[in-house]
Structure formats: C-alpha cells, structure tokens
C-alpha cells in the first residue's frame, strides 16, 4: 500500500496539449475518483499513472518511488478496464493467474491467491469457465479478481461499470467500495457518472478540458463548488444559473429586476441555486412560472421560467405537489446556499 503523488503532469499528442499540469496527493488507502465529461482527459491521466501512456512532462510517484520510466508491470499497480480485457482463450483461473505466472510466483502461492480472491468475489464456481460463458457482472468480478491477486500498491479503475445495466451498476458500485475498504488499498477510479463519483470517492478530482477544476470531498464539491463547471457538474438535477448584478448597497438584482440580499461584490455575477435549496414561500422573491412537473414520488421537480424572463429554472420540492402550468410560485433561498461566481472567469466568489 502506498500513497500516489502527481506532480504537474502534462500530456501532449504532437502539438495538442490535452493535460495542462495536473497535481494532486492521494493518501495511502484513499479512494479517489477522477470525474469529468468525455474528452476531459481523465482516462489519459489514469493511463499515465498506469504507464500505458508516456508522460510528456511532470512526475508520478507511487509511495516515494518515481515511476515515470517504469513499465506498467513494474509499477505495482493493477488496472480494471471498461471492457474487462479478459483473455478470451483462458479460463477464469488462468486469467487471474497469468500475471503471477509471469512474475515467477510458485504454483502453490498462485493457487492460494486465486482461490482467496475467488472467495472474496464469490466466483469460485466459475474458475474453470471461459470468459464468454460469463455474464457482464461476472466478467467484471473476474477482472477485479485479476487485479486483487496481484496485491498491488494502487488499484486503477477505468470506467469499470459503464458496460453494465443500471441495477447491476448500483450493486457493483457498492461492492467495489466494500472491497476497497476491506483491502485498504489506494484506488483511483475514473468515471463520467457524477452519482458514481459522489457515492464511491473519498475525494473527487473534477477534470475539465485538461485542467483540475476542484479536488475535494464529495460534500465540499456539493457545498462549495469552486467554479461554475463543478457547480453544474455535481448534483442532480443540475444547479440553476442566473445572471445578476451586485448593487453598491449589497443587494443582488436578478434578470427580471427583482432584488435579493447577499451580494459579495459589485457588478455582474452568476448566481447558482440548487433546485433542492429553493424553499417554497408565497412571499418569496424568486418567482417561477410553472411549465412542467416531474413527479418522482419522494419529491416533485418543478420546471419553469423565472417570471418575466425566458430563464429556465428547476425547483425540487419534497413530497407530492399538484400544480397547473402557468401558475407562479414564490421561492426563498438561504444566503449560505446561494452560490456566486465571477461571470467572466467562472470562479467562486
């Protein structure tokens, strides 16, 4: 087990730079999720840690070992791929044992490790089957078993659940988390699914277009998003954004002229309001004209526009509400739940 340190990592293909200086410390035993939209460079970053991509600049340390120039096999890592990458012509047992066999570990030890991993993952009865005879979830377990038997310093997961159906995904998500806690091994997990990221990670690294937007715990990201991007990416349904103007008297003027309190600076700002933070209040200053309702049972999503404007807004109210379209509802928001961002840079104010 070991910590993982990324120091100012750059990656370019020819003249195109795709990662622009990624840094981060991942503690021993920590589960870090790298999350971001497709094309943000998250898989590239993981593959650089694994040694499958050449590092253009910067350093990767596993423990206190610099691993930049080490082959993947010598970095003491294990990786689980999106399509599992099991060897189709080998049985489950051979798949799991292959890496150990190459390392020259004794047959007895290999058998012990394979069987131990098979017990943990409950795949003992499949050991002599070929991958094609297994279901998606079972293949996923084998892929993890292959990682476990290596007893690596760091586990790397590259979107391992995206080939599974929704129900199985939730189940495997929990299992991955339990497994990681049980083994206490450092893990880096790449996904584009923010729910997966929030539920799995001790800390999340949000990547956007090759930059780290924010690196923190799921709650930090939810409560204090560092930028517009993070604010829009984390949370479901997504945060509402409104343009507003900070007045000298500390008030904020919304797009429809309504003023609310809590300005942090003068001039144009972008306001962020989470749908679940909008509190219904007949006297509330934020007035939304209802257009569509989504009944989720536990809560109701109210889609509409800010009164007098075309600005789309969503509010989430607990319980069941029956409202006819066209009705105007008033909402309040607590000042500490009102996020304010610089309109130009998108940074949190």
């Amino acid at each position: 087990m070991a910590s993982l340190t990324l120091k100012d990592l750059y990656k370019s293909y020819g003249n195109t730079e795709v990662l622009h200086g990624i840094s981060g410390e991942i503690q021993d035993g920590e589960f870090v999720v790298i999350v971001g939209p497709s094309g943000c460079g998250k898989s590239t970053l993981l593959r650089m840690i694994a040694g499958l991509e050449i590092i253009s600049a910067g350093e990767v340390y596993i423990g206190d070992r610099k691993v930049n120039d080490l082959e993947p096999a010598d970095r003491d890592i294990a990786m689980v791929f999106q399509n599992y990458a099991l060897y189709p012509h080998m049985s489950v047992r051979q798949n799991m044992a292959y890496g150990l066999k190459i390392r020259g570990i004794s047959k007895k030890e290999i058998n012990r490790r394979v069987e131990e991993a098979a017990d943990i993952l409950e795949i003992r009865e499949y050991l002599d089957r070929k991958p094609r005879q297994l279901s998606g979830g079972q293949r996923q377990r084998v892929a993890m078993g292959r990682a476990i038997v290596r007893e690596p310093e760091v586990f790397l997961f590259d979107e391992p659940l995206s080939n599974l159906d929704a129900k199985l995904r939730v189940q495997m998500r929990l299992e991955i988390r339990k497994l990681q806690q049980r083994l206490g091994v450092t893990a880096v997990y790449v996904t584009h699914d923010q729910v997966e990221a929030m539920t799995l990670g001790d800390r999340l690294m949000v990547l956007n277009a090759g930059y780290v937007e924010q690196f923190g715990t799921p709650l930090e990201l939810y409560e204090r998003p560092a930028s517009l991007f993070v604010a829009g990416f984390i949370g479901s349904p997504a945060m509402n954004f409104l343009e507003a103007k900070g007045q000298p008297d500390g008030m904020l003027q919304l797009e429809n002229g309504v003023v609310i309190s809590g300005a942090k600076s003068e001039g144009p700002v972008t306001l962020g309001m989470r749908p679940e933070h909008l509190i219904e209040d007949t006297e509330g200053p934020i007035r939304i004209e209802v257009s569509v309702l989504e009944q989720l049972g536990a809560n109701t999503l109210i889609h509409g526009t800010l009164e007098g404007t075309e600005r789309e807004m969503v509010a989430s109210l607990p319980g069941i509400h029956q409202l006819e379209p066209g009705r105007v509802l008033g909402f309040l928001i607590r000042p500490d739940e009102l996020h304010q961002f610089d309109s130009k840079t998108g940074k949190r104010l």
Binding site: L52, I77, F81, Y87, H89, I102
Partner: protein
C-alpha cells in the same frame, strides 16, 4: 427468409442436384477410368461403370514406375514431393506473415509505413509476373531441384500478412495493455495471447495455402528437372504426352484421383475451424 412452398422446395433441390452432378460426374469418370485396364480405356464406348482393376491400378501407380516404358518416379514419391512443397508453403507463409503483421501492428519503428507498402506491393507481383528474375535468383542460389527452391519463392506474399493484420486490428488494445500490466513482454504477448486468439484464422489460412501449394504447376515445372523432384500435379500433364504412345488412361486417372486426395482430406478435417476462422468476429 423462410418460405414453405412445395414448388420452391422442389426447384431448389433440382438446382442443387444439378450442381452436384456437374461437379461429381467428372470425378466419377475419373474413378471409373481408374478401375479398368489400359486396353478397355482405349475402346469405344468408354465405360460408365467401374471395372475390377482398381486396386491393381492403385498398386502399380503408387509403387511402380507408373507408365510403361518410361523412367518416371513412383507416384507415392511425387506425392511426397507435393506434400513437402505444400506444407512448407503453408507453414512458411503463415509463420512469415504472422510475424510481419505482428511487427506492423504492434511496433513503432522507423519506416514502418514504408515496409507496410513494400509488403503491399508484392500483392501485385505474383510468381507468374516475376518468374524470370525469380528463376534467376533461385538458380544462382543453387536451389534448382530442391525443396527450398520449390517453396521459398512462393512463401513471400502479402495476402496472409494483410489477413493477420486485420485479425490483430480487431483484437482490442486493452488486451495488449492488460498483458503489459501483467508483465508480458512482446514475445510473451505474441505466444500467449496473439497466437491462441488467431488459432482459427491460422487454420483457415492453412487450408487455403495448402491447396494453393499443392496445386502449383508453373513454378515446379520450371525449376525441377530431376524426375525425383517432380510433383504429382506436374507429372499428370507429363504422363499425357509421355512415351509418344497412347495415353494410359487408367494410370493417369488413378494418379489424378490420388492427387485429389490430400486437399480433400485437409478440407474435411479442418472444415469446422476453417468456417470459424473466416466467419468468427467475436474476440
């Protein structure tokens, strides 16, 4: 489309039966001719039913000197020559092309595309086109009348390299990456992963190449002058004109039958793998 109309069923069966007859009739005639004595085969009408000389003909064809009055080698020896040539061509081609496809797909080396196109160009240069220079080279190397001379010039070709390249391109990159993380070096990856994964394609290619090698006519005719090195396909033609006498149809047809046998055996025994190798896409 599945349709159940009796007329169509009869029609399709008729078409198939006609096809089978067209293919089978010449083979039947060959078999019949191989089972009569030489004199019966010169009389009209030609027999349509087998005679009683089949085993006798087979014995004198396989073991004897073949045609009377000539000094040809026994047919079993010519078949052995053919077999050596066909097997060397098949194995040689598979070995060379799988290795070159491996290099082209999995390694980044200078002039990689240059080499790729060099191999590609050989597609346009089959033996028939380059026969004079190739003969010159083989002669200068002293390979006339040798198994090496028979097979080497036919081994170098691009088709198989392309097939393996396509096969390798369908194997997901993760397979290679996974093997790298498992600590497999390039050669280990080749032996442990790539070869087993191309098993059915190798089998399919073997069938095609074996038949290609077995049926070679022009090249063996050119570079074998020794009767000891003649292949059975070449000898068939020579038998027709040998000894300036009436062709001994019973012996010639028996030789033809024997020459047909190995390709048939290869196809029959490798049929399952052959079909798999050409149709299976799931890796």
């Amino acid at each position: 489309m599945v349709e159940h109309r009796p007329i169509l069923t009869v029609l399709t069966h008729l078409v198939m039966l006609t096809g089978i007859l067209l293919i089978a009739f010449p083979i039947w005639i060959t078999f019949v001719a191989a089972s009569h004595d030489a004199i019966r085969m010169t009389q009209v009408p030609l027999p349509l039913w087998p005679g009683d000389q089949f085993w006798h003909n087979m014995k004198i064809t396989l073991l004897g000197s073949g045609l009377r009055g000539t000094e040809t080698t026994p047919v079993w020896w010519m078949m052995f020559n053919s077999l050596v040539m066909a097997l060397s061509i098949a194995f040689g081609k598979i070995a060379i092309s799988i290795i070159s496809a491996f290099a082209i797909v999995y390694f980044r080396f200078p002039f990689r595309m240059g080499f790729f196109w060099l191999i590609f160009i050989t597609l346009m240069l089959p033996v028939e086109v380059r026969i004079l220079p190739t003969f010159e080279v083989v002669a200068n190397l002293g390979l006339l009348n040798s198994y090496a001379g028979l097979s080497l010039p036919l081994i170098a070709s691009a088709t198989a390299t392309f097939m393996f390249r396509q096969v390798f391109l369908t194997i997901p990159d993760e397979m290679l990456e996974s093997a790298r993380i498992d600590g497999a070096g390039p050669m280990r990856f080749f032996w442990d992963i790539l070869l087993p994964l191309s098993r059915t394609n190798i089998a399919a290619l073997f069938v095609i190449l074996f038949i290609y090698g077995w049926n070679q006519y022009l090249w063996p005719l050119l570079i074998t002058t020794d009767a000891d090195m003649t292949t059975v396909v070449v000898s068939l033609k020579q038998m027709l004109t040998a000894a300036e006498a009436t062709p001994e149809w019973n012996i010639i047809m028996m030789t033809a039958l024997l020459a047909m046998l190995p390709p048939i055996l290869v196809v029959v025994f490798m049929q399952k793998l052959f079909v798999k190798g050409l149709t299976e896409t799931d890796k």
